[in-house]
């Protein structure tokens, strides 16, 4: 019998498959399609202190084997998430959820995390210091080890639940940032967020996306993600959540061999809304094929 359970920062998951933030809303669009309780957990839509509309449209562009988004953290704000989204989610999801948080100042991050830390539905805080789509925030904290550490420390000070810092690939040395977060008390890191990208429309000779640039994700970025997960997992002793272009059970196993304790699935959900359910369904068969008895035994198997 294939054993899919893994433990992420002290909390057991039935399987390592986690829909990534921004591709799964607050869960209930997908709950209409299948029982989302089959998931390990999921990371909900990036939440900020105040409500945000995000960037002007168009904010989506097609790419070879991927897509660019420049949504810019549209969300109803942390108070509405707590009063409206979480109660709705509770009706269709009975496991702990991963709360994804973004901010524009260290105080923002600490405030939003402190509010969500008190919610019983929340099992982990995923602190996004890597959103490429907002100015003066997000990624600017994730491209400097000192700033990333400062956010981590501030969040850890006011929370009790595991803090997983979500890292940007748009840096020269992701390992130094991961280590800075670990030293500042992070319980885990997740990577990679999207790669900064751009498309230009040949007809209009202008950028496709109103915000000009956006985050590139999808199957095309998988090898970059595997490489970075491998580098970080080699260097830190806290759990690494791997993501970036994951679209199959085979990809999940490859990510885990690179050092991921759990694996997030992002853009693929937007193309095939059933993909996470299908990956979980396919995993036992693929494990059998590669003679894997328990997924937790292969974490970092190639390090």
């Amino acid at each position: 019998m294939a054993e899919m359970k893994v433990e992420l920062c002290g909390v057991e998951l039935d399987n390592p498959v986690i829909p990534a933030s921004g591709t799964f809303g607050y869960g209930y669009e997908f709950a209409e399609l299948y029982d989302i309780n089959v998931l390990g957990t999921f990371s909900f839509k990036g939440t900020t202190k105040d409500p945000r509309f995000g960037n002007p449209t168009p904010r989506i562009a097609e790419c070879s084997a991927g897509m660019i988004n420049a949504v810019g953290l549209q969300n109803p704000g942390v108070e509405k998430v707590i009063s409206e989204e979480l109660p709705k989610l509770k009706k269709c999801f009975h496991k702990k959820v991963m709360a994804n948080v973004s901010g524009f100042s260290v105080e923002d991050y600490a405030y939003t995390c402190e509010r969500l830390d008190k919610c019983e539905e929340v099992g982990w805080l995923e602190v996004n210091v890597s959103c490429p789509n907002v100015h003066g925030g997000g990624m600017s904290f994730g491209t400097d080890p000192k700033a990333a550490a400062e956010v981590t420390r501030a969040v850890k000070k006011v929370t009790t639940k595991p803090v997983i810092v979500k890292l940007s690939p748009n840096v020269t040395d992701i390992v130094s940032i991961a280590k800075a977060c670990e030293d500042a008390g992070a319980d885990g890191v997740s990577l990679i967020n999207t790669l900064l990208g751009m498309r230009i429309d040949l007809k209009t000779k202008k950028p496709v996306i109103a915000n000009k640039m956006g985050g590139f994700s999808g199957a095309a970025i998988f090898p970059v993600a595997v490489r970075m997960v491998y580098q970080v997992a080699k260097a830190v002793s806290i759990p690494v959540v791997g993501m970036g272009g994951v679209s199959s059970a085979e990809d999940v196993i490859e990510m885990m061999l690179a050092g991921a304790t759990a694996v997030e699935v992002g853009a693929a959900n937007l193309v095939d809304p059933f993909i996470c359910r299908d990956i979980i369904r396919d995993l036992p068969e693929v494990m059998k094929k590669y003679k894997i008895n328990a997924l937790k035994e292969i974490i970092g198997g190639c390090l």
Partner: protein
């Protein structure tokens, strides 16, 4: 929403750039809704409005404008397509009144076909304005007439029907409510020219097409809405023009 495999039964040109594809398969698609089509080698699905749905045949009409639609154009009867269907809110037929006016521009015309059919079935006196740039681009005039609608064609260059825009054809018309679909400048013009309440179907670049990614959001007087899930049809009174 449902994920279905459809079989292409017809894929023919209506004009130089506009194609009609008929798909066989089970669906509950309503008028004003759209389907999202997976195409080999392309990452994101392609959203196309539903033109008609009768029995197990779904009709879509699309303009060949880029890689995705170029690929669709080459498809032959018998080929299979992975489609997410029953997407979006669709038109609200209950608000039509006794003599609704349907206004379509270019590839905004197709979703009005099934709407006209259902309104006529419900005993309404339906008028339709079809707007195009030039006579060579006109399609579905006869199909709307065959349903029993009063059809006015408008062309920007005057090569067919009323010379001018759909708003020129609207002048002096008596209607109880309007439904429209077309390019955004046309929607704005109809918004200003219309004398009754009505609803408009919007287009936006979409990621998922089912409300998950927030790629196609817009602001309305009722707050942020997703064109794909809370739309594509918005009521006139809630629209806030952004661009």
């Amino acid at each position: 929403m449902e994920q279905k495999i459809f079989t292409v039964t017809e894929n023919i040109p209506l004009t130089e750039t506009v194609m009609r594809m008929r798909l066989q398969g089970e669906s509950k698609a309503k008028c004003g809704q759209f389907v999202n089509i997976k195409l080999d080698g392309l990452y994101l699905r392609r959203p196309i409005s539903v033109c008609d749905h009768e029995g197990d045949i779904l009709t879509i009409i699309y303009k060949v404008v880029g890689k995705g639609t170029e690929q669709m154009k080459k498809m032959q009867a018998g080929e299979k397509l992975d489609v997410l269907t029953e997407l979006g809110n669709g038109y609200d037929l209950s608000r039509a009144g006794d003599k609704p006016l349907l206004i379509g521009g270019g590839v905004g015309v197709p979703p009005l076909y099934m709407l006209a059919k259902e309104l006529i079935k419900a005993g309404k006196r339906v008028s339709v304005i079809l707007g195009f740039n030039t006579a060579a681009e006109v399609f579905y005039e006869e199909e709307f007439k065959a349903l029993g609608a009063a059809v006015t064609v408008a062309t920007a260059d005057g090569s067919r029907g009323v010379k001018g825009f759909v708003t020129d054809a609207m002048k002096g018309m008596d209607y109880s409510y309007f439904y429209t679909c077309g390019p955004e400048p046309m929607l704005k013009a109809v918004y200003s020219a219309s004398e009754t309440e009505g609803e408009m179907s919007f287009e936006e670049r979409m990621g998922c097409g089912f409300g998950a990614c927030m790629g196609c959001s817009c602001k309305t007087i009722y707050g942020n809405k997703r064109i794909c899930k809370d739309g594509p049809v918005l009521r006139k009174e809630e629209i806030l023009w952004q661009k």
